[in-house]
Structure formats: C-alpha cells, structure tokens
Symmetry: C2
Subunit: 268 residues, 2 copies
C-alpha cells in the first residue's frame, strides 16, 4: 500500500495549498481533504493543483450526518451531501467518506436516528451513482455514538451496503473497528467493497473520546494484522493517515510528514 495523508492530520498548521505542496515535496503520493480546507482553497483551484502535483485523492471527508430533529434539518443535510458528491467528483476523489451523524441533540431515539441515516443514504445514492462517486460508509467507534455517529460497527455498515448495492462501499479505519470480535469475519464479508483504509493508533490510556489518537506504532492496535486482512480482500491502493490529536496538531508538519512516512513503512 502507498501512503495518503488526510488533511485533518495537520489542520492546525497547514491549509490545503500547503498540504498539496508538502505531500508532493515529501513524496507522499495520496491526499484526502476535509471539506473545510477544500472550500477555503476553492474546489477548482484545488482540483488543478492536486492534478498538477500528481497526487491521488483517496477520499473526500465527509458527507453523511443525516439525523436531525425536523424535516428541514434532514433536507439541509441531504442538499449538503449533494454538494459534497459534486466536490468529490470535481477533485477526482476515490470516494466520499460518509459518517452516520449523532443523535439529534437531546434525543434518545437511537433506532430513529439510524433510520434517518438509512433514508438519507437512499436520497443521495442516485446522485452519487450518477457522478460515479462511491459512498464510503465509515463506521465510527461506539464511544462516538451519541454525538457523532450512529453508524457504529462494520457489520451495520455492511448491512446498509447489502441493502443499497452498487455505489456503496466501506471506509475502514483501524481506530474505529480494531476492538470488534467479529473483525476478521466482517472484513472478509466486505470483500471488494473496501473503498478506503485509514490508519492511526489507540493510545493507552486514551484521554479524549475524539482528539487523542496516536500515530501508527504509538498505541496498541495491531495495524499490520488488519492491513493483511484488508489486502487479502484485494485492496491494495492506499493507507490513509488520519490523526485527530491535540498533541500532534501542535507539531511542525515538516517533521510530522517524514515521521508518518517512516511509520507507514514500519508500523502499518
């Protein structure tokens, strides 16, 4: 696998122009922007600069986030996802990474929120298919179920893939799935539907449910074992490094990028 760098990994230090230039200069062949930095740079300009730099866009982060208290909120999310699909198409992204979204604030209706996710996917899938953009469902760790993702397991994501068929895939992040007792079986079940493979590490102890990820090798996840499972399903493109970390965000990307390249070679 080649290495790809997700923009959130250096979000405190670099915008997208710096990230594109930095990846090219450091010999990192893949890139995956979040929509905030893409919007700040401008989609057309970013598309051209990424092309000129010869980088592969391994994904656009992120669509989804469908649950909302009222129909207007859900409709707004669907419209926003349509814009995300257009952006993913414009920059030639391999997929649009789609998150479940959390419970609407104050809600305790988890089955209801999951149904809103399902309905949202049904609404945007025709647009994604028309644009040739794969919807890559990314289950997030169950500790984010309340406020970020009612899509909690690889099994749940695959059930949605089974239901909706063509145009749907999986974004598999080791951080979110490493604990799953069914992991090996579920990766086999995913098969060719693995559209993206994300790496980082689980620190021991972990002091924040969102912003305390480690770089590969810093924690307790057997990343190479999971990579081998993914490769056994025929996935052989990129391992995308996505680190949400208050610690790593403070470091100089000129030092972080070489370190991530080294960890890609030794710990992924």
């Amino acid at each position: 696998m080649q290495i790809s760098l997700n923009s959130v990994t250096v979000k405190e230090k670099w915008g997208l122009p710096e990230l594109i230039e930095g990846c090219a200069r450091h010999g990192i062949p893949g890139i995956s922007p979040w929509r905030d930095v893409l919007g700040a740079m401008g989609v057309e300009r970013a598309a051209k600069q990424i092309r000129d730099a010869g980088l592969t866009v391994t994904g656009l982060c992120r669509g989804g986030m469908f649950p909302a208290h009222d129909q207007a909120g859900r409709d707004a999310a669907i419209e926003d996802n349509r814009r995300a699909i257009a952006e993913a198409h414009a920059i030639g992204a391999k997929c649009l990474v789609v998150l479940g979204g959390g419970l609407p604030p104050g809600s305790k209706d988890l089955p209801g929120a999951r149904e809103m996710l399902r309905e949202g996917l049904a609404k945007i899938l025709p647009d994604a298919r028309a644009a040739g953009v794969t919807i890559a469902l990314e289950p997030l760790h169950p500790m984010t179920c309340a406020d970020r993702s009612v899509l909690s397991t690889l099994g749940q994501a695959l059930d949605l893939c089974d239901e909706f068929g063509a145009g749907m895939g999986i974004a598999l992040d080791v951080y979110h799935v490493w604990w799953d007792p069914q992991l090996a079986t579920l990766i086999q079940r995913a098969g060719p539907r693995i559209a993206a493979f994300h790496v980082c590490d689980w620190k021991v102890p972990t002091t924040d449910t969102v912003f305390d990820r480690g770089i590969p090798g810093e924690g307790c996840i057997d990343i190479p074992a999971i990579r081998r499972m993914v490769e056994a399903q025929g996935y052989d493109s990129f391992a995308e490094v996505e680190i949400l970390s208050r610690h790593w965000w403070q470091q100089d990307p000129e030092a972080v990028l070489p370190l991530l390249k080294e960890r890609h070679a030794t710990a992924v």
Copy 2:
C-alpha cells in the same frame, strides 16, 4: 424491577457498613459490593449484616481480569477468581460479575488476550458450579478494550456462554451495550441467561472513558426501552445502579440515594 445499589456508586463517601445501613434505611432492597469494600469489612461480618438487614445481594464485583504476560500472572488471576467465587457464595450473591481484563501492558495481541479470557473461564467454571455461583460475564464498552476489557460485546459474551454452558450468564449494563446495532437480537438470544441488569446513563458529552457516567435520566440512553427488552426475556428481579463518576462521588449519599430511588421510578 426493584432497585439495587452498587457500592462503587458511593465509594468516596461510604464503606460497606455504611452502605448496608444506608440501603436498609432508605428502602433500597438490593446491594452489590465490590471486593475492595467487602474485604475491608470482612466477608463473614458483611454476610451477617446484609442478612440481618434483609438485603438481596444482586452481585459481587468483580472477577475475571485474566490476561497477563506470563503464566504466573494468569495463575494468580485464576486463584484470585477462586477466592472471589468463595466470597460470592459466602454473601449469597446472585452472581459473580466477571470482566474480561485489558491487554497485558504493551501487548497488541487482542486475539491472544481473548484466548486467555477463555482459558481463565474454563479453569474457574468448575469451582463456580460447585459453589452454585453464576459467572455473569459483563461485556464492557469497546472504549475500554485496551486497558480494562477485551470482552467487548454482548455477542462475544453469549458466544462464551454457548461454549461453556451451565453456570454462565450475562451481566448486562446499559452503558456498555446501548450503542450496539444488534442489541435487541442479542438480548433475545441471551434469554434466561441474564443474571444481572445494571443501569446508569451516557452523558453528552462524555469527558472520560471510565469515570464520567451519569445517573439514569442524565444522558441519552433509552433505559426503559432496554429494560423492556430484558423483562421480555423473563428477567424481573433488580436494576442495579452502578455509577463510576468523579462528579457523583463527591455528593452526599444521603442525597444521592433518594435521588436514585426517584430515578429508578421515573427513568429506568
């Protein structure tokens, strides 16, 4: 269901003698000690005082914690579990709550740690059967997989119950399982093997992976919906309140116990 109080809920303010007296005085008919407070009071003395107060012991917390780097560590855990079984028998506990334990420090071998859990259970089950003590496997939230529990899902616990048969059951804590997309199916599968039902709540946001639980009604878990699923399987004894919370530990138990009784009536 009746209410039971787990000793950890008031651990900063009360030892076991105060808890027994306080539960009896506040009309809380169930109690569940951790082994630290039980040991501090003395097993015989505690057993007598609990009996005299007319309280039901809904569980003893906790056994398990089998994974260790070397055989001596694993043997020590098994011996400790045998003592725990004897203590559970001595106080007439409905079950011994058994946790998975985390990865041995520095280890990345999650399948290996899970196998150590399996081997540990095989070793202690004859003792538990002989003592008439149910081993209640409690899956913990996946966010504790690294340092507390490689037993991560209800499905994984039920697989172990299926394998080992008589003498094994489940301790189902809403905090640990509420996010599971398979929850309804798994509770049906558990059936009469539900040996304990624990309640607390998931706060939004949650600021600590262990010590930030809410009291029932304080968070986003639809506790009554899960209670109904559990009752549909014939479980009708106690809902045990187990709160690990730096906030609630600072409060006066004389105020906390009435509040928990009220929440038991309105939010469980």
